[in-house]
């Protein structure tokens, strides 16, 4: 009686099973391909790397090292190179991310105002993003040249002393940070610009009615609105800077005297120049740990913001 009264119950068990399967099957089918891909391209190499970092493998026979426990890490801790590499990495990562965020946001604010030719200006400001890093670094190499570079020409023209941009401390680090930020800034500009465009006009107008100046409107209305985008850009750029190798390799090669050696530069030198793959993998583990710390910090901040917004 009840079965006929409720058409849902009257369906056969087989039909119900099919329906239940269908509910699971679609997401599973969609997930399977990326999971397999991740397993082969990320998790497996990661496991291999953890193993290699615990061996004394050399480049000539990367898979053939023998297990040495934490010896590689102990050697790193005992040496003087690691603290400097870490300091360089932090300086480079935070410096280029911070500078790119500031430059990109300022550019977005300028382009967001309507003026004649703002489309052209936007295109020009966005162009560094399209230039391959090695090509960009080569152009800057030429501009930073001590004898022929445009910067020193200008300084000399103004009666100053030429600067050894790429071969002296701290200018080498300043130079690579500047070039990296120059490459990142267009991305920041474009993403921030779209965030700025999504600020509802009426909300900005309401703040004017409420007596806010242009600066106050930015601080109290626009900035909170674009902050989540800004945080996301921050973590993306931090991760990107942590693995940036090409610009430093072309411009300074990690020098002078290791002053621009970041983790990736150190990995490359250790694994491929000194051929100590085990040692290089140990460096890489430290790099991954750094990236994970930054990512966790981002997630924590994001979760707190979400909780505050009551979502």
């Amino acid at each position: 009686m009840t079965a006929t009264a409720n058409p849902r119950v009257s369906r056969s068990p087989r039909l119900r099973l099919t329906r239940a399967l269908r509910g699971v099957a679609t997401p599973a089918a969609l997930l399977i391909a990326p999971m397999v891909l991740l397993a082969f391209m990320v998790f497996w190499p990661l496991l291999q790397q953890i193993w290699i970092s615990l061996t004394d493998a050399r480049l000539t026979n990367p898979g053939g090292g023998s297990f040495v426990g934490l010896e590689n890490f102990e050697a790193l801790m005992a040496g003087t190179a690691l603290p400097q590499v870490l300091a360089n990495t932090l300086a480079y990562t935070l410096g280029s991310t911070g500078l790119a965020l500031v430059m990109g946001t300022l550019a977005a604010l300028v382009v967001n105002t309507r003026f004649r030719g703002h489309g052209f200006v936007k295109g020009v400001l966005a162009s560094p993003w399209a230039i391959p890093p090695v090509a960009a670094a080569s152009i800057w190499l030429w501009m930073f040249s001590e004898s022929r570079g445009i910067f020193n020409r200008i300084i000399e023209g103004a009666g100053g002393e030429p600067v050894a941009w790429l071969t002296s401390e701290p200018w080498a680090m300043v130079s690579v940070i500047l070039v990296t930020a120059w490459q990142f800034a267009p991305l920041v500009m474009l993403v921030t610009l779209s965030a700025l465009k999504s600020v509802p006009d009426e909300v900005a107008e309401a703040s004017r009615v409420d007596g806010a100046s242009a600066v106050a409107t930015f601080t109290w209305v626009v900035w909170p609105h674009i902050l989540p985008t800004f945080r996301l850009l921050g973590i993306l750029l931090v991760i990107e800077s942590l693995r940036r190798w090409d610009i430093i390799a072309v411009m300074t090669g990690g020098g002078p005297v290791m002053s621009t050696s970041t983790i990736v530069v150190a990995i490359q030198r250790q694994a491929f120049q000194y051929q100590e793959v085990g040692m290089g993998a140990a460096y890489a583990m430290i790099g991954i740990t750094l990236a994970v710390i930054f990512a966790l910090a981002y997630l924590m901040v994001e979760r707190r913001a979400e909780k505050r917004n009551g979502r």
Binding site: P200, E202, V203, E205, A206, S207, R208, V209, D210, G211, A212, S213, V215, A216, T219, W220, V221, W223, P224, H225, N309, G310, R311
Partner: protein, 373 residues
């Protein structure tokens, strides 16, 4: 509390004229309603008063002083947006306090972090905290003060928007369709609240709406607009009783004023006053100024098409005999005790004291001293 004066004020975007030049003045303490269908330019006019949209030509004066170039802040206005435009990242308390905090912050204090500290200290000051509490109490917002707008219902958001505009005691209140997002019951209640508020603060209100009921119930004066042109300026009674043209006649009032075409009038000359029948004009009569009599009585012979009972009254749609279609249909507002059935033949009688005549070609009201009386 300024007296507003519009002197040939107009607005155009490039070659498109969205508001034709017009003159008008609004006295201190008036509740002016800008009424018209969407796209008629009423919101543009409101934004021009606020200083959010530039005036293309003409002059807007506050107490005799031209304010065309005045910044929004200098105009000392409150503006309630249709979308409420609340600050989503701020709590209700911070939203309401925002105008007060802005008034008290120095330009250099708007720096991030430092600004937040200063703002939170300002919000604890008794003159700000007290004022926010008082307004919140008045608008029943106390339980929601620490929520964010995202966690509020439409009606609550609307009240927060009102509270934010009230907290600063401005001299001019501008409201852009503030009730359009609310359900019918809440709308009726807020209508009463806003009218009460106007009476209490005694300031000038300019209120934009497309809802003629809102206009009739709240306004001390109405400006009816259509296609960027002012159609009529007058008190609700003037606009209702003496519409300036057929647009106003049909836009104000529900159901709208009946417009009887000159052809029908000519076909039944004995049904109308001699002056009306001879005028060749469109005859406008409100549904409540028509009576249905039994067949055989003097008047316009009609057939009952639809009877709509709304409780206390009935709206009876009739068709003059020999006519068909929506154009010629005439609506009669009758007592619910009137028992008419569909298809019944009756006679329609007009109250000659309440007849409006409109020029058949232009739709403009025709003076009718000779016909009424």
């Amino acid at each position: 509390m300024p007296q507003l004066q519009f002197s040939s004020v107009a607005k155009s975007y490039g070659d498109t004229q969205v508001l034709e030049p017009f003159d008008a003045s609004v006295d201190s303490g008036e509740f002016l309603v800008l009424l018209g269908p969407s796209g008629c330019g009423k919101s543009t006019l409101l934004r021009m008063i606020a200083g959010l949209t530039e005036i293309t030509s003409g002059e807007l004066l506050f107490d005799g002083e031209t304010v065309n170039e005045w910044d929004v802040r200098k105009r000392d206005i409150a503006f309630v947006f249709q979308s409420y435009a609340l600050y989503p990242q701020m709590t209700v308390r911070q939203n309401i306090a925002f105008p007060l905090v802005m008034d008290r912050m120095k330009p250099w204090q708007h720096l991030p972090i430092l600004g937040s500290i200063i703002r939170s200290r300002l919000m604890h000051r008794p003159e700000i905290a007290g004022e926010v509490d008082r307004i919140a109490e008045q608008l029943s917002l106390v339980p929601y003060l620490d929520r964010r707008p995202g966690a509020l219902s439409g009606g609550q958001r609307q009240r927060v928007a009102l509270a934010r505009s009230l907290v600063r005691d401005p001299s001019l209140y501008l409201l852009d369709e503030p009730l359009s997002n609310l359900d019918a019951k809440l709308r009726t209640q807020m209508r009463v609240d806003i009218t009460a508020l106007h009476q209490k603060v005694g300031k000038t209100f300019v209120y934009v709406t497309h809802d003629q009921i809102e206009a009739m119930t709240m306004a001390t004066r109405i400006i009816v607009m259509d296609h960027g042109r002012i159609q009529q300026i007058g008190t609700p009674d003037e606009v209702y009783d003496n519409p300036a043209n057929t647009f106003v006649a049909t836009f104000v009032g529900s159901p709208a004023m009946n417009l009887i075409s000159p052809d029908i009038v000519a076909a039944h000359p004995t049904a109308f006053e001699p002056g009306i029948a001879a005028s060749g004009a469109i005859v406008g009569v409100r549904p409540e100024h028509l009576m249905l009599a039994d067949e055989g009585a003097p008047g316009l012979p009609v057939t009952v098409e639809v009877v709509e009972r709304t409780g206390a009254e009935a709206i009876i749609a009739c068709q003059p005999q020999g006519q068909e279609g929506d154009e010629s249909r005439i609506l009669v507002r009758a007592s619910h005790t009137q028992r008419r059935v569909m298809g019944e033949a009756c006679v329609l009688q007009l109250d000659p004291a309440h007849v409006s005549l409109f020029d058949a070609a232009t739709g403009v009201r025709v003076p009718q001293t000779s016909t009424v009386g």
